[in-house]
Symmetry: D2
Subunit: 397 residues, 4 copies
């Protein structure tokens, strides 16, 4: 692979100077930001991430694979490339039998992730975000300083690699994300913050509304929810977050953000899809169709969410569907990937068989409840629910 | 992109000299060949193929995307890289409003497909196959010479680009595939032949057993079925093909091959998944899990199939599951992509939550009937069934 | 059979003198009262009630059929025979094209219903209850006096026929049931009151807790909910009613009562099963099994409900299952009908086939999720929801 | 009600002299005979039959309950009252722990069953049939003489009680039903014969076509299938029987008969619903709606079946639906029970709520796929399949 060579040149250059549309806050002020999709699960299916530890060392091991996926999200209309830095903290790379730390460091993995994201972002006009997530040190009952020390290692790389802004995401405890926001703000960059909670609130029963207000008070300019739930439930949560911000008189200074699962989870309990029996290896029947994405994007926009992206389960065509639904709201911008996708199935007009051509319309796809093809499957599962949380012995890593 | 430059060097060199394990027949004689997965549908989801016409011009337009997908299949254990030449015949590139022929030729698209496949095949030890599929000229009632002329354009590129063998695939009419085999044999290369039919036979009611015997008599050394049905139904079909070969005393000189859908289709009628209301944009709930793939691979092997691959819906992790199930039969060879996948969910032993760790075993995943997460979906659909076939006006292109 | 003849004698005699266990309050004080099941829907399926108007003129037309069903509920363990007087008010017998009033009067239908109920009650040791339900006059915006006049006609018959107590049931508006309770109390009889509401409250958004408190304040000694929802949702509602009574300091003087549907309604909205597309002619797949009834009875008892019966969809074997689950709580009393039903499927030990004998145990039936046998059915429907209520023109009768 | 008294007179009197429309063959020649429904399962739910042994001693113990159910089927349009004599052979009454034989004899149970059936038949214009079913003696490997001796005891009562014709039904082995037909013919009465087999044939792999021909050759004038499968599968079987009769040149002298389950069994294997995990206590979700019955009746009639009835799961309203669908074919006769049922939901025009009134039409109900209301249920089960048959030790009684 020769791509990597060119990237060495790239890091000498401040790409952010080239942003025609300004930074994340400017873009949100102008209207709408489309997020990207789920690098972690997509790369697992492509063969580059191990389910279980779920760590992102492939940024170093197989950069071409990560780069290609970023590119697909860019072509799908994503305005942000999230560097693949999820679960890259040092305490996670050596957690529970994971031996990634024998060969990789948090710093190395994060630096590579940032470089790749920047290379692809520069192929279009996207921003690059660096991300922090919850870490084992917190679950083990570690002190604030120890937890923030983990975050700082990641943040130092994000600064060195000049990411455009930061996302604190996938936190189940409001306290931990407050610590993360506090640490992230020391970089001087804009901080977005999303928790992986649903309408029932965080694992200590803090409501979504209160979580949102606390994140905003902690300094996040963009707040919301990500992962763990399907668009329906996560939007329910974000609606409650909005109410909380309004009540705390913080709504007018804060943008709403959502990055839900690409899996239907009507049966998920408080801890979300992790507890469903199908997690993580039998979620296929739950995958959202592109038409589900249209409904999601519309509802999100109507609620007032302005940063609309995806998390685990979102493939490039899902992000493209979000972009297509919100074409007008994006000022008519058409994603490059839409050259290969006519709206609402119109491409089927070119199909060989007339009864397939008859499906080339919006009404058909909007009203279809797709069959599962699985006569021995139910529609819902009962979540495992051990009901333990931070500090519980069974969670110590 | 600099990759393409290196590929120009590559075509000067006859990679087939480097095959340690010989050609396709030698490999089949030794035991087992794992096919790759569904380039067409995977690239549609990645944003490079338009559903409707379903033509492969991205081999020229976005070679890096095609190459990356090939590489993922290779890493998943595929022994064959099928050049992305499906529906690349000239009469298809300009069919029904598709204007690809304004910018591309069959020859150009096929040559690019072969080059990319060879580049990736050479990263491992895979063979390259060129493929022919049914063409509009036949559906329009074209004469044998006209149909074979379409095939010849593709075959000339396959010869120039030194593919290792040929696959005639995705034919619904036994007559047309006989014509294809006849033409393909003129290249002197080994020919495999698979029809997209189910247990009910071809669209003129020729049984699977008779189809298999006729394909073998026409000169195909490897015969079977691909696409249109899920593993269960397609294996039912291949079992009938085997019976037909046995009855015609052709079985001992012929290998069986199968490349089914990665979608469950218990409700498909004679023409397969095309007729299901969910085709092609709402098939998500039907996607097979990796565990479904284990069952498929085992049953295929037990029936005596020795070329076991996939078609539409097969993602890299599906092929990896086939490889993992048949590890022993492959002489213990482990696919590169399995470095990121411990068998039967064992990677979950490293998960943070104890109730997820409890899922790290074969029995759990083998017995799970995954919920659809769709309370408003049924398990089966009723196929559209217009019951028309070759020569019908509604099918003229 | 002597029944009909003796019934003429019976009306001369005050059966209430023969009650060994006292009236309804004494029985509740002692522990537990099992209600009967759904006369209306059971008699519709038996051919004696017309769906649409849903009026009970068969008490006069086919008393033997009503009597036999009462007897089956008695044998199933019911402690109360509710006279079949549902929707028997004069304004309902001539409503919306129903011409029952050409041949029958409210008084006649109610008197016959009371006589039949008494005859069967006397075959065992059951009480007889007379019932009032919501009436068209209220929906049409009728004044309190007009509404109560309708009730009084029924109540006069209940008094004449010496029912043991009264049940005001199937009211969607708290105001109307307060009027019914007030009128019913004038008879001097004990009054039970149940609304056909779910956890979302009545059609004017009065919460279940407030409804319960208001019914108790109005003078009902037994309060709760009936019809419209399955046991799960209706128990959720009754739990909220209990909280409301506790909060209003009325709980210690009030008994809780529940008579839910025998149909699963997880998808019902605020107005319950009426709005589901399957109402009333395609509810079959939703029918509860006897094992669902065990779970219902146990949960109801644990919540503190002491009058546990059923409504539409409850067949005799459903009531028997409730009785069987609560055998210990009933002081070991076994219903006569249980002579033909060994607990938890134990009768299957006598089955011919060994694999059916293997099902003769509690664990088997408790854990079975029965298949629907309907591959084209979903698990949930979307309720019709016109969102209109009292006084709306479309509801005027 | 005078019925019981008059019944004592009735047995002195030959009611068959009063049949205006002649016997069963005359009625079939004239057009169409509607059978009744499933006494066994209906009476189990009403509390009079024990599941497991499934014996009919309630004809003696609770004649009023049996009589009422017969009456409901009569009112629903049934032209035949099958005396409740299923499994009443002496060897069954004392089988596998069943102690019914301590108090009852085959003769007593059968005589009572015939009397009750005649009483109700005489309320209308129905015929009375006596029935023979498979017996433990055969399963235990008993000789022909021993098996026929069991049948003779029942037949003697049928003769004494002057039933109009005989039905040999619910046989899984063609040999045993041939023995039954032979014995039954000695009474001089017309014999109908139905096996409880599906399209796969009897338990010794005799095809439906061959079974039908053998039953006709043995002397049955009416042949077909009953129980074990839903209308769809059982009609598939009867279609094969018709082909067998045609091929054997016996069709023109033989009438076709069908009495299927009232449960959907798309997933049943060769031995039918007995093997489904839901048998017999969790079949609720599979119950056919009245609209399913319309489709059944129409298809049965179109195939040429002229005796169209029901078996386990058929309630009175199911038989009424069959009668209603075939009103024209019955010469416009309307069943008495249809007075309480307007066709195709028309009674809903009298419903209070406008959105329920909107359901009062055929198109609505014909096209509805009713939801199961069970999010944790699949649509199909896997049948238990121990694959043992006559003579196997595990089946010896």
């Amino acid at each position: 692979m020769l791509d990597a060579n060119s990237s060495y040149l790239i890091v000498q250059f401040d790409w952010s100077l080239l942003h025609w549309n300004g930074g994340i806050l400017e873009r949100l002020a102008e209207g709408l930001v489309i997020g990207d999709g789920g690098l972690l699960f997509a790369l697992e299916k492509r063969g580059y991430v191990k389910a279980g530890p779920f760590t992102p060392e492939c940024t170093v091991e197989n950069p071409e694979a990560v780069k290609q996926l970023h590119r697909e999200f860019l072509r799908a209309g994503a305005d942000v490339m999230q560097a693949f830095t999820f679960y890259a903290s040092d305490d996670k790379l050596k957690n529970r039998g994971n031996k990634v730390s024998d060969q990789h460091t948090c710093a190395g993995v994060n630096a590579a992730g940032c470089r790749i994201a920047r290379e692809v972002a520069s192929e279009g006009d996207a921003l690059v975000a660096g991300g922090l997530s919850q870490c084992p040190t917190y679950l083990n009952g570690g002190a604030k300083a120890a937890v923030q020390a983990e975050f700082k290692i990641q943040l130092d790389e994000f600064v060195k690699n000049k990411v455009d802004f930061l996302i604190c995401e996938y936190f189940e405890h409001i306290e931990e994300i407050e610590w993360a926001i506090e640490e992230a703000l020391k970089t001087g960059k804009v901080v977005a913050a999303t928790m992986c909670i649903g309408p029932e609130g965080d694992l200590h029963n803090v409501t979504p509304g209160e979580c949102a207000a606390r994140m905003a008070k902690a300094g996040a300019k963009i707040v919301g929810a990500n992962c763990h739930f399907d668009p329906t439930k996560l939007l329910d949560c974000v609606e409650l977050m909005k109410e909380g911000l309004v009540k705390a008189n913080l709504y007018k200074d804060t943008y709403l953000m959502i990055q839900p699962l690409g899996y239907h989870t009507p049966d998920a309990g408080k801890q979300g899809f992790i507890d469903l029996p199908e997690f993580p290896f039998a979620l296929e029947p739950r995958i959202l169709s592109r038409w589900d994405m249209h409904a999601y994007a519309r509802r999100a926009y109507n609620i007032g969410v302005r940063y609309i992206g995806g998390c685990c389960g979102f493939e490039p065509y899902h992000v493209r569907a979000v972009s297509e639904e919100l074409t007008a709201e994006r000022g008519g911008r058409i994603a490059e990937g839409s050259e290969k996708h006519d709206m609402w199935g119109a491409g089927l007009k070119m199909h060989t068989k007339p009864w397939v051509r008859a499906r080339a319309n919006k009404e058909y796809w909007e009203n279809l409840n797709p069959a599962s093809g699985r006569p021995h499957s139910a529609s819902q599962s009962k979540p495992d629910n051990w009901g333990v949380t931070k500090g519980d012995d069974s969670l110590k890593q």
